[in-house]
């Protein structure tokens, strides 16, 4: 697949092959691919001239990167303190119950990824969750099912 190699080269070039920009390069690739396949990491290492171990160190240290593919819809339940005191743990539990997965997992039909996030800064809407970048809030436990149905 020269396609991947070409794409990676393009992103690396857009940062003038500056090794300091490794995190920025991976962020662009993560948002382009939705995750970071092994081949992408290998290509980054090759094009940027940094050891593969360092690429992996960065890709595993920071939470924004994912080494596994994600579901079609990404649900991020906010677990910021403001949402927490307004009952976000119950919202998370309800999501887990309805989707039949735990946080960090993907439904077997690859439809939903469930994640928690530390704070999205929409504290007035707490408890809230973001689905595919769209904020939903304030949530109640009984509303969760209805919202998920929209994404079926």
């Amino acid at each position: 697949m020269t396609g991947v190699s070409g794409l990676v080269a393009k992103v690396v070039d857009s940062y003038q092959r500056d090794k300091d920009m490794l995190i920025q390069i991976l962020l662009d690739l993560q948002s382009g691919f939705g995750w970071l396949p092994k081949q992408v990491l290998d290509e980054v290492s090759k094009h940027l001239g940094v050891p593969i171990t360092r690429v992996y160190q960065i890709a595993t240290f920071y939470k924004a990167f994912s080494l596994a593919p994600k579901g079609k819809h990404l649900i991020r339940v906010c677990m910021g303190t403001a949402c927490q005191v307004r009952g976000s743990a119950l919202i998370r539990d309800r999501m887990e119950q309805l989707l039949g997965i735990k946080v960090g997992e993907i439904t077997s039909d690859m439809k939903f990824s469930l994640e928690t996030v530390n704070c999205l800064g929409c504290c007035a809407m707490g408890p809230m969750a973001e689905i595919d970048g769209i904020a939903h809030g304030p949530l109640t436990i009984s509303k969760v099912e209805e919202i998920l149905k929209k994404y079926e």
Binding site: A64, T81, R94, C119
Partner: protein, 638 residues
Amino acid sequence: MPRLNSPTELEKLREEIKARRPPRPCISISSGTCGRARGSEAVITAFEEEIKKRGLKEEIDIKVTGCLGFCEKEPIILVHPDEICYLNAKPEDAAEIIQGIKDKKVVSRLLYTDPVTGEKIEHESEIPFYKRQLRIVLSLNKWIDPRNIEDYIIQGGYSALSKALFEMSSEQVLEEVKEANLRGRGGGGFPAGRKWKETKNAPGEPKYVIVNCDEGDPGAYMDRSLMEGNPHSVLEGLIIGAYAIGAHEGFIYVRQEYPLACENLNWAIKQAEEYGFLGENILGSGFNFRVKVHRGAGAFVSGESSALMSAVEGKAGEPRFKYIHTAVSGVKGRPSNLNNVETWATVPLIINKGADWFRSIGTEGSKGTKIFSLVGKVNNTGLVEVPMGMTLRQVIYDIGGGILKGKKFKAVQTGGPSGGVIPEQYLDTPVDFDELTKLGSMMGSGGMVVMDEDTCMVDVARYFVNFLCEESCGKCIPCREGLRLLRVILNDVCQGKGKEGDIEVIEEVAEVMAAASLCALGTTAANPVLSTLRYFRDEYEAHIKEKRCPAKFCKDLTSFYIQPEKCQACLICLRNCPAGAINGDKGLVHWIAQEKCSKCGICFEVCPPRFSAVVKLSGEPIPEPPPPGTKVIRKKEG
């Protein structure tokens, strides 16, 4: 736009913009992240269409601004010049508001209604939420479209930079900031002037200046709001700082969770370069300065200064020992000065108005204002900027409008995961760097999370420990292992598996972590636990000895129960129960089969408030269900 090459050209441009903009009504619509989450984009479209439809393009302007702070009531519409303030605007309100402007009438149904007096309030500045604030850093947000540099310029933007570059030496700028006693707004409260001086005097070139917008504290978002709503104020502060320190290169580190902040910042940098506020020979002064944006990739610990500097180098954001300050050896081993967004945004104000003015606001040791994100169980959620020294009670009750749903206040959490909780008896404490530290908490970056009687303090401690456990980089043992041990104990306590002696172990571990951790994340990590223990030890003891959660929050210690005498057999809980644990029928009292109950809390939530039949029980036996076929006792309506 050609580059500006002198202060005169800047002033000329300012006059030109003023002349170009005829005085006519302007509708500003707030559309920061929280505004957008509440549908501001649809509102903007509706206004644009309405104005187009009526052919009013030459009569009424629209301005899309960043966050106006009253997040609870977003999207907010301000009609200038009278500052009529409409809250929770919807697309369908556009026609009425525009008609109101034409007729010079106010649409009273969209105004703020005082919950106590029932009085309608027209002007933003008279709404209690705003009235008690002192907005200086946030003051321009309502006037500025963050993507239009001219909006900033017309408000006097970049005049501080021009003053610094042409009327002051770099030493004078530094002295002014030192005189003002500006303390870092990111949490530490270290005097910015001293840090600047150390960087300036440190040997080695080049020197760097850095903006920390890696606002990781859960429950705090003032930096996001500033960066989204008024990015030029941050840039202007940074360039002034660079001039004072002698740096020609800067970095701005922004969380990738804040996409709008990144967008608006990049926009601002591009415009600032075009106008000659960034780049070579700024405003013709001979001073050069460039800035690069780095997005953070999601690591709380990267907000620590030495860790952030590693991240800027493209490395894992782990902290290092700081016996040599980052001011001496920071990015690439060069002298580097880092301040957070709010600190940088305060600098232009100090240069323009002088250190004496700044020192006239605030308390003895803490000068100026501070922005707090007032969130949690409080009526008016939002960003509040107040002079240092205002009491917690004033912030929570006068500005925040008191506790949600009339519940009882229990504590306020400040300082995020490094801070602690402050109980009711200290509500009259003035808020500043030193006073909050005395209470075992800290001001931190400005998160203020209000908690009520339904909040379990042990769970709060567990929450922060869990958070930090995931965010600890693992480099030093006291932080890594200490947090893990605390997590195990606190999970046990919350699950009713706590045992005698747990509290003592917690205290011992906390002591070691505070003494031996490498960075501030570890040394302060036990604060939320210690402060909850200090003020709410009885709650810990209830969990451990009586297996009871006084706030009835901890799932494992709480059960749901339907009071037979109150149940009206409305079937709502029965239909909504996902576990099929509720039994009953039309006319028959409902009851919960405890062994099936998953404790999701839906029945408690959906039971109509006029019945309030579902209750939580903790630490007491659950009464036997009513005999089969028990009929409801009808409640007399009215």
